[in-house]
Amino acid sequence: MDIDAEQLEFLMSQAIDGQLSAEESERLKRDLADDADARAEFERMKRLNDLIGQWGGRPAPVADDHAAHVLGQRVRQDAEFAISRVLDGEEQAEGDWAAHAQRDPHLGLLAHQYRRLERVVRAWGSIEPPIDHERLYERLCETIHAEAAGRVSQWPRRIIRLYTPLAAAASLAIVAGLWWSMRSGPPTMVPGPARVEFALVGPPAAAPQAKPVVEFSFDLAPDAPIQSVARAGEGSGVVISVGGFMGPRERPSDGVDEAVF
């Protein structure tokens, strides 16, 4: 069975890690025997692996090496970011990655790990959720249709819901206005001219000799001074009877030519 370059690279990586089955090991041997480039690549990977092993055994960097260590970390991160962008399909990143790979051959293995991770994650991501999509679609549509129908049937309720607060607010405003006007007294009216009427209501027919009685009726504007003037001849004996909101008043005109109320 033919295998592609990526699978071959994977087999080589597994062989270096000592994780090949006997069957896979045989297959790798056959492929390497037929392909000089693959053999060269395999040798390169083994050397890299040895180098990484040696590097891994080194003591932790001391203070003198700190700057170089930080710089190395930074360069490595830049290289890893370039690998990630290549995996994203960003063409420009391929140049960045090539530059990093040229400077540090160790990065080939790193790129291999990232590619492998990407394949594994994508493969895992291709697993379909165990959902009956047709039935879910029907359920979602039913939900939306019910929502839409609810919107239409709710129009009268919506109107009530919208206008009830407005009506309540208007009622409150009216009540508040009435209360305010009552608290402040009756509404102010434009004062008009005072009106005074009088009528001769006496003496009664049964006693024609009795004193004549004149009845006054006042219709005064609220802000007008409560004052009315009645004039009668001095000593005429006319009784002035005043009715109105001040209550009845009677005062004989004897000796009085001007009555002020």
Binding site: D88, R116, I127, I131, R135
Partner: protein
């Protein structure tokens, strides 16, 4: 990044369907569901880790989208807008398993158990199918992704797994495209360390 011809066409179709829905044609929204249901469920599933919660979030997301469709300023961006809703609801769901009123979803909508999803997917990763290893690796990947910081997890799921365009992922995460690349890189770096035994 320039949108491809197909993306442009998809956006125009979305805009037309949104317009129809706003005019009262509910079937327009049915079509939007048809177009985005799988992706919405899949994103929620990757973020929540189980199908039942994913369906619940998906249903809630479509309902919210329908209710607030008028607020969508650019109808051509319905897809990213919906995915943002799905992502946010999924994250909220994770934070407090029940923050909003749950919408019950029938178990009959599940097409099978969530355990034992087979090992076929391993073949596409260049690995020999192995039921036990598939299960173990699947759990390890799921756990590693769930432990990522939110933005890294979203960026990885939306871009590297669901294949959503970086620009749209940036819209969803409300960040720049460069930030999306950085989040994806950080996520990959963490996964590489956590899954080193399998790589």
């Amino acid at each position: 990044m320039v949108a491809s011809g197909q993306q442009v066409e998809d956006r125009l179709v979305d805009a037309e369907l949104v317009r129809r829905t706003l005019e009262g044609d509910t079937e327009g929204f049915d079509e939007l569901i048809r177009r985005y249901q799988r992706r919405a469920v899949s994103v929620a599933y990757r973020l929540l880790g189980n199908a039942h919660d994913a369906m619940e979030v998906c249903q809630d997301a479509f309902l919210r989208a329908y209710r607030s469709l008028e607020s969508l300023k650019d109808p051509e961006r319905f897809g990213p807008w919906l995915m943002r809703t799905v992502s946010n609801l999924s994250l909220n769901f994770r934070r407090s398993r029940r923050q909003s009123t749950p919408i019950p979803v029938d178990d009959c909508l599940l097409s099978g158990g969530e355990e034992g999803m087979g090992s076929d997917w391993m073949a596409s990763a260049g690995m020999p199918p192995d039921e036990a290893l598939a299960s173990e690796l699947g759990v390890a990947i799921s756990k590693a992704i769930n432990e990522l910081p939110e933005k890294q997890r979203l960026a990885l799921v939306l871009f590297a797994i669901e294949g959503i365009a970086q620009k749209d992922v940036a819209d969803t995460l409300e960040c720049s495209v460069e930030a999306v690349k950085w989040h994806v890189f950080q996520a990959r770096k963490t996964l590489k360390e956590k899954l080193a035994d399998y790589l």
